[in-house]
Assembly symmetry: C2
Homo-oligomer: 378 residues x 2
């Protein structure tokens, strides 16, 4: 039987923000939460112990990538994904939908599922709702996502409608394979493009089926930020208040704050990890491109307000040196800092919700960045 | 005043092996010791804390690389190399000689020093004995190496003689800049190619000048292993017994054992770190190429006899997956294991010297590898 449960602990008075707690058989997740992305059974550049140390309570892994390499059956045979990657806290797996649809010309959608060619070796595959669930269960996922189509933006309304309806039928097929009360939870994914009525229809279709949690898909696909916020603002209140809400693939620190304010509980994004490897670092005063010559002899920590291992022990000059020298440690230290920043941001949000000061937290967050852009601080 | 001191604690009865201890103002180094190579102010792929955890008591850094990038003056201005790279234990710096002479056609040697072009940006530089010491002192090195020429192999006897004499004159110029009793120790480097009489002459020239320690240079430059061992066997006993002896750029686990047996106290080599990044791993039963298909579903730890973090928590299948997926963590985990293996090997050697069982240790070491090559173990 499933240990999965969501408790709404506190509702902000000045916004839709919620403080909650998800319970799984592998531990609790305090929400709002950010999930580091561990695409190929590793959050790139960071050890599981360090992930725990910075406060990550759940990571995301990718069905598409693990299916192709090393294969879900191999991982199952080796004792499951948790054991494989040495991570004993909860894992959420995406369904592979997003990746398959990102393949563009080398995939074809039918009612049955999506036929595609591997980006690794060009081999041909067919991913169906049933297979996606089978893969995620073989991996031993704690939170399984339904197989859906992530609709590109912009798209014709007729296509959005057709796709959203098909995704709903696929969601039903997923639920049939993974019943309520199973050891893994199943989340539905709201589609509907940027069309309000289709978003509403998608929510209704999913609520009709019934899931342990609900996600917004098809966002952060190139639309204006204000449009993404509008979609959250409109769609999130349509979801049941007693289930967790997850906005997929989002986002920047600003997006997280705004997502929380609109009622979102869970986020994931490659941004902190990918940016880290590209030398783009998050700080309380905004983004830093560490390769810049101005940091060459800068002995200050990256973010003097940050308590992370990197900011406690290394200078901007050292981080710049590692980056321009293409050292492995550049990725390791930058990733550690960026993920710490994200986890601290979420911890700050949660604390402010408990204290009833979220609105002040949100204002202060922007204020620090403004001072930076006015060059009042560095 | 220098805190530098070498104590010969025990002399093996069955070989030239020595158990000793070097004391520096930044801590002790139990010998025989292996020094991980931290070329550009980082031992590639491992955090300073992890280096300590696996028992490294000293690391090596490269004058040539740090001079070019980020520059020794910058590092000095930022508080020295120890602070820059967050490593508070001793650091030995090479003199830049080996790297400059590896540049081949883009360097020119005169009595004054070596003119060369940067591999980073093609800029022109002149490295002299005086500048090499100045750089190493600016970095804050605990053990400074004299600037010498690493003679290629094979080479004409006349060139070896000429070069060895010039290196001796350079060594004297180094000693004039860095006097005995300074806060940094200075080591001389024995050259002489593969010519026994020139090796002897080089030792005499260096002893005449007087150094805190003595290194054998010009080995591991492509000669037969047996010839390298012959050079060690001949040269090491010519050195004063009350000073540490360092064989530069050596080597494989076998080389370390044989170097110790011939009286060597200190080693450095990029092999454990570079091999790690190429998926070549050291184990008690020999080398493992982790990319091989045979490890695809191998749930065993890399080395079941190893107590390192990697072998305690990850399978061969996972290490192979990370490597073939080109994940950052492949370098991190492989480096950790390989350096642990090297440190454990040295710890085992030291323990056996204390116990008077070095000869048995040496036999067992080869025995385990033989069983592996006969496929008796895997």
């Amino acid at each position: 039987m499933s240990a999965f449960k969501y408790a709404l602990l506190q509702q902000d008075t000045g916004s839709q923000a919620r403080r909650g707690r998800i319970t799984t058989s592998r531990g609790e997740i305090e929400t709002p939460a950010f999930m580091p992305v561990g695409t190929s059974a590793t959050v790139k550049g960071i050890l599981p112990e360090a992930l725990k140390e910075i406060g990550a309570q759940i990571v995301l892994a990718n069905t598409y990538h693990l299916y192709l390499r090393p294969g879900h059956k191999l991982i199952q045979q080796l004792g499951g994904l948790h054991k494989f990657m040495h991570w004993d806290r909860p894992i959420l797996t995406d369904s592979g939908g997003f990746q398959v649809f990102s393949l563009g010309d080398i995939r074809k959608i039918t009612e049955e599922g999506a036929a595609f060619q591997s980006h690794v070796d060009g081999s041909k595959h067919m991913l169906t709702p049933e297979l996606s669930i089978e893969i995620q269960l073989a991996l031993g996922s704690d939170i399984v996502m339904v197989f859906d189509e992530c609709i590109p933006h912009p798209a014709e309304r007729s296509y959005i409608s057709e796709s959203t309806n098909r995704s709903a039928r696929w969601a039903k097929r997923c639920r049939e394979v993974l019943s309520p009360g199973s050891s893994s939870a199943l989340f539905g994914i709201v589609q509907g493009g940027m069309e309000l009525d289709l978003r509403k229809q998608s929510v209704e279709q999913l609520r009709e089926i019934g899931f342990e949690g609900y996600a917004l898909g098809g966002l952060s696909v190139g639309e204006e930020t204000s449009l993404m916020y509008d979609m959250m603002e409109y769609s999130l209140p349509l979801l049941p208040i007693d289930h967790p809400r997850y906005v997929m693939g989002v986002g920047t620190p600003e997006n997280l704050i705004e997502g929380v304010a609109r009622g979102c509980d869970m986020f994931d994004c490659v941004m902190p990890t990918r940016n880290a490897r590209n030398g783009l670092l998050f700080t309380t005063f905004g983004k830093v491109s560490i390769k810049q010559a101005r940091y060459r002899d800068d002995e200050r920590p990256l973010d003097p307000d940050c308590q992370c291992y990197v900011c406690q022990h290394f200078s901007r000059a050292y981080l710049r040196h590692l980056y321009v020298s293409k050292e492995v440690l550049a990725s390791v230290l930058n990733t550690h800092h960026n993920l710490y920043y994200y986890q601290q941001l979420m911890a700050g949000i949660r604390q402010s919700l408990e204290d009833g000061t979220f609105s002040k937290f949100r204002k202060d967050f922007y204020h620090k960045r403004e001072k930076h852009s006015l060059n009042l601080i560095d």
